[in-house]
């Protein structure tokens, strides 16, 4: 049983506060234990009574609860009596555990939510020992920290992904994954670059004999040998034409490849994004995600096709030139290359500075698009409250920040290029000076000096363009990082490694001890419910009581934090996500219609559905007739920029959509809340058709909508408080009764003030 402690430790994420690792106090704990006393569970306390960070420990053995107080590190113990209880609660990220006997509180301990699971485990063990129960054998196959099913090798997939590792900084190299399919083209492109570069280096070499064998002798009175001139000038022309042809071929090939790499990157990222859970979308803003997919991939593409290619050429030119120069005259070559290290050092220094700048500029740019993404969809609210000025100021501010950041970056890198140019000029002077001195001492010919000057002007232009690569590489790397941030994001709804195959479900749903939290707020706790195939459950409760979260968990938009949801006895985390969702039909409060025809929208979940099926589904959803009344019938365009439909009509289309896939499990999430009671009556018929024979979980604001439900489940602040039929719950005179009464009064008020009779009475 000693494994209790080590087990918990092993499963905890590595990023522990320095003061919360139980290992730090473990030797002290061993001293506290009696010879044969074994540790069953432990919990690292990391906050003292005043909620300041301080390490402490809570340890449970078979006979007592041991505590090392965070404040003064003293130990106390509590023998496990039958009247002791441990009370857990948390608020704003701080959890509190209270030990009570029948009459009063004995002690109270605080810790951060990092220890939340260890605490749950400790409480479970505490209750078990106190009540004299043995450990539940099913616990052995479930993860000790989160209660999810264990994969092979005792590893919990849910806990393994909680490890927080940042993506590597060598992000651009990771683009290789997308380049590999094109390695043949890339290699031929590289060979062409090599050849083209070599060809461009021929002309300066030709100046050497032109100078020494033609022009200098002419100056000394020897007539010009036109045969030699023809040969050399012909060589110049041939080299130029060759360089042109090769350059064209390599640019074309590499541009094609990089465009394809960019497209692959985009589609892969989008595919990955689609697989991410709703949790990811909840925390991201549309503008930011769109910027990542659109402009960042484009930037990477331009980088690959233009800048990287240029850079490769630059490096080749420099290497080849340096070789030629050394072969011709090592001393002059050495002097010529002198400024090179200085420039390389400059590039290195500026690189870091620029990268941060560009990363920052990217983030600020997202801020600019975020203002747009906020304002344009909410334009009705903006106009209704006459806040155009305020949004304009917000946009202007975002732009101003963008300018400020860019100004700072530009200040650095605008200085950079001229400095390189200056160094180039200085380098030329050095070559002139040293070259003339060498000519005067007859160490080199005038031809060699002219060749050097011709080479070096090319050489330094290359360095100049290489300096530009610094900024574009950093921009592309920053872009790649943001792309890989999306790609590296593991879906919090992971596909099981070895999914259980299902054909058709019967539709039995079993929720056992389900818990879920958003950040530090517990939304659901200890939800247990068995739903028989074909049964209709109505979820009732105030807003914020956890109804929507519960259906989101059932749809597996999120994974449960604790406990398990089983369908036909199989944990839904063990099923392939798409397989499972194919069996779930969903009708939402705000039906979303994609741009396309009504027929396409109905067939969204089953694209291969025949026309007869679509019509049948629409008919059952009471949508057939109004669709036929539209000028283009089922071919009418809807969605953004399409035909405008009323809320009730859109809802009926979405009901038809759910009917068409014929799911065993049906989720109605406030399906009738957005429409008035008149329209609700119209939809109700469609809903009745939909619900028939399917396991249904329905959330409805109007309790009257749930009259068909077999059982009503009343939720309050994340817990089930009542379960039963309408009459049963009314007789109970509890939460449901109160909800019902409130609503009936509300309806009466509405009716009095809106019906003609009501108006008369008011008059």
């Amino acid at each position: 049983m000693m494994s209790g402690l080590s087990h918990v430790n092993a499963k905890e994420p590595p990023a522990l506060p320095p003061n919360s690792a139980p290992t730090a106090v473990a030797p002290e704990l061993t001293q506290q234990l009696a010879p044969h006393e074994v540790l069953i569970a432990s919990l690292a306390l990391d906050l003292d009574d005043d909620l300041h960070y301080a390490p402490g420990l809570l340890a449970l053995t078979a006979a007592r609860l041991l505590v090392q107080h965070p404040t003064d590190h003293s130990w106390s113990e509590y023998a496990l009596d039958s009247d002791l209880t441990l009370e857990y609660r948390d608020h704003a990220g701080v959890a509190t555990l209270e030990l009570r006997d029948a009459k009063h509180t004995l002690s109270r301990w605080h810790f951060t939510l990092e220890q939340h699971r260890a605490a749950r485990r400790l409480i479970e063990d505490f209750n078990r020992i106190r009540d004299g129960r043995v450990r539940d054998p099913s616990l052995e196959t479930t993860c000790p920290t989160c209660g999810g099913p264990l994969a092979a090798g005792d590893e919990c997939p849910a806990c393994a992904r909680a490890v927080h590792t940042p993506p590597s900084t060598w992000t651009l190299l990771r683009l290789w994954r997308f380049a590999r399919p094109y390695s043949r083209q890339l290699i031929s492109g590289f060979l062409l670059t090599l050849a083209a570069t070599a060809a461009t280096l021929v002309p300066p070499y030709m100046t050497m004999p032109l100078m020494d064998k033609v022009l200098i002798p002419f100056g000394n009175g020897v007539p010009i040998r036109f045969d030699l001139v023809g040969l050399y000038v012909g060589g110049l022309l041939g080299a130029a034409v060759l360089a042109w042809a090769l350059g064209w071929a390599r640019t074309y090939i590499l541009a094609l490849v990089s465009e394809r790499i960019g497209a692959d990157l985009r589609t892969t990222t989008f595919d990955h994004m689609l697989r991410l859970s709703l949790e990811y979308y909840g925390g991201k803003r549309t503008g930011d995600l769109m910027a990542r997919l659109g402009s960042e991939t484009d930037r990477i593409c331009v980088f690959l096709s233009l800048h990287l290619l240029d850079f490769a050429t630059d490096v080749l030119v420099i290497l080849m030139t340096a070789t030629i120069l050394f072969v011709v005259n090592p001393w002059l070559a050495l002097v010529t290359l002198l400024p090179l290290p200085i420039i390389a050092w400059m590039i290195h220094v500026v690189r870091d500075h620029l990268r941060h700048g560009f990363e920052k500029a990217n983030r600020i740019w997202s801020e600019v698009t975020n203002v747009l993404a906020d304002t344009i969809p909410g334009i009705r609210v903006v106009k209704a409250f006459a806040q155009e000025q305020r949004e304009s100021v917000r946009f202007r501010d975002a732009n101003r920040r963008n300018l400020a950041v860019n100004d700072r970056v530009n200040a650095v890198w605008s200085l950079f290029t001229p400095t390189v140019t200056l160094l180039t000029e200085v380098g030329l002077l050095v070559v002139w000076g040293f070259g003339i001195w060498q000519v005067s001492r007859h160490q080199i010919t005038v031809g060699v000096l002219t060749a050097f000057l011709a080479y070096i002007s090319r050489f330094y232009t290359r360095l100049d363009s290489m300096s530009r690569i610094v900024s574009v590489t950093q921009k592309a790397a920053a872009g790649a990082k943001r792309i890989f941030e999306v790609l590296d994001h593991v879906s919090s709804v992971p596909e099981p490694v070895d999914p259980v195959r299902i054909d058709a479900l019967k539709g039995a749903i079993e929720l056992s001890n389900v818990g879920f939290r958003y950040g530090s707020r517990a939304v659901l706790e200890g939800i247990s419910l068995d739903i028989a195939p074909g049964e209709m459950i109505g979820l009732v409760g105030h807003s914020g009581s956890g109804k929507s979260t519960l259906v989101n968990l059932t749809c597996r938009f999120y994974d449960v934090g604790e406990g398990a949801i089983k369908v036909d006895g199989i944990d839904i985390r063990a099923l392939a996500v798409a397989d499972y969702r194919r069996n779930v039909g969903l009708v939402l409060q705000e039906p979303f219609l994609f741009f396309g025809t009504i027929g396409d929208n109905i067939a969204y979940g089953k694209p291969d559905a025949g026309r007869a099926e679509i019509v049948a589904a629409a008919r059952a959803a009471h949508a057939h007739e109004f669709i036929l009344r539209l000028p283009h019938g089922y071919d009418s365009l809807v969605g953004e920029r399409g035909q405008t439909l009323s809320g009730g009509e859109r809802q009926r289309i979405s009901i038809a959509r759910a009917l068409l896939i014929d799911p065993r499990i049906l989720i109605l999430d406030e399906a009738t809340s957005a429409v008035d009671s008149e329209t609700e009556k119209e939809i109700q018929g469609a809903l009745d058709n939909l619900v028939r024979g399917r396991t249904t979980i329905a959330i409805a604001h109007r309790l009257s909508t749930l009259r068909q439900a077999n059982r009503l489940v009343v939720l309050d602040r994340g817990r089930i408080v009542e379960v039963g039929g309408h009459d049963e719950l009314m007789a109970l005179k509890g939460d449901y009764f109160r909800l019902y009464q409130t609503q009936r009064r509300q309806i009466e008020i509405d009716e009095i003030s809106w019906t003609p009779a009501g108006l008369e009475r008011e008059a």
Binding site: N19, D46, L51, Y53, G93, K360
Partner: protein
């Protein structure tokens, strides 16, 4: 103009379980009441409320001065027991400039370490305040960039 007036017609005590009890009119005892601040960050000293165990408002206090002394102490003590927004005074170390990143910081409640999941978890409140949310949903406050030392500012700047 909508106005909210303070209504102080309750007194407070703690029961043996340490729970806060409000004695409202006619001597009715409400167990498990919770004091809250309405604007915990932007105006921590203006606007308080006392909620009952179901989360309904029992009383509204525009400031604590309207409470008699013993009650005020209980009220303040109960507030501080619920509030946990450590204020970051210094950033000592960040594991990487890419997220998720582990930050080692010094706060007004002592040194700690937490995981920042993404740059979007650093939010700008009413300037110059910043709010940092860690992977467990704990909120940390940064009063102002200018109050941090150079090293902290440099680290933080890489995330802004």
């Amino acid at each position: 103009m909508i106005e909210t007036k303070s209504n102080v017609d309750f007194s407070l005590k703690r029961d043996l379980f340490g729970r806060l009890v409000a004695i409202v009119k006619d001597g009715v005892e409400k167990v498990g009441v919770v004091p809250v601040r309405a604007f915990p960050i932007s105006a921590p000293t203006a606007g308080f409320a006392l909620l009952d165990a179901e989360g309904h408002e029992l009383a509204w206090l525009s400031d604590l001065a309207s409470l008699p002394r013993p009650d005020r102490e209980i009220f303040e003590q109960a507030l501080s027991a619920r509030e946990f927004t450590p204020e970051i005074r210094r950033l000592l170390e960040v594991s990487s400039f890419a997220t998720p990143s582990t930050w080692t910081v010094e706060t007004d409640r002592g040194p700690t370490r937490f995981v920042l999941k993404g740059v979007e978890d650093i939010r700008s409140l009413t300037p110059p305040r910043l709010m940092v949310t860690d992977s467990h949903g704990v909120n940390y406050l940064i009063q102002s960039l200018n109050l941090l030392d150079r090293h902290s500012r440099k680290l933080l700047d890489r995330f802004l």
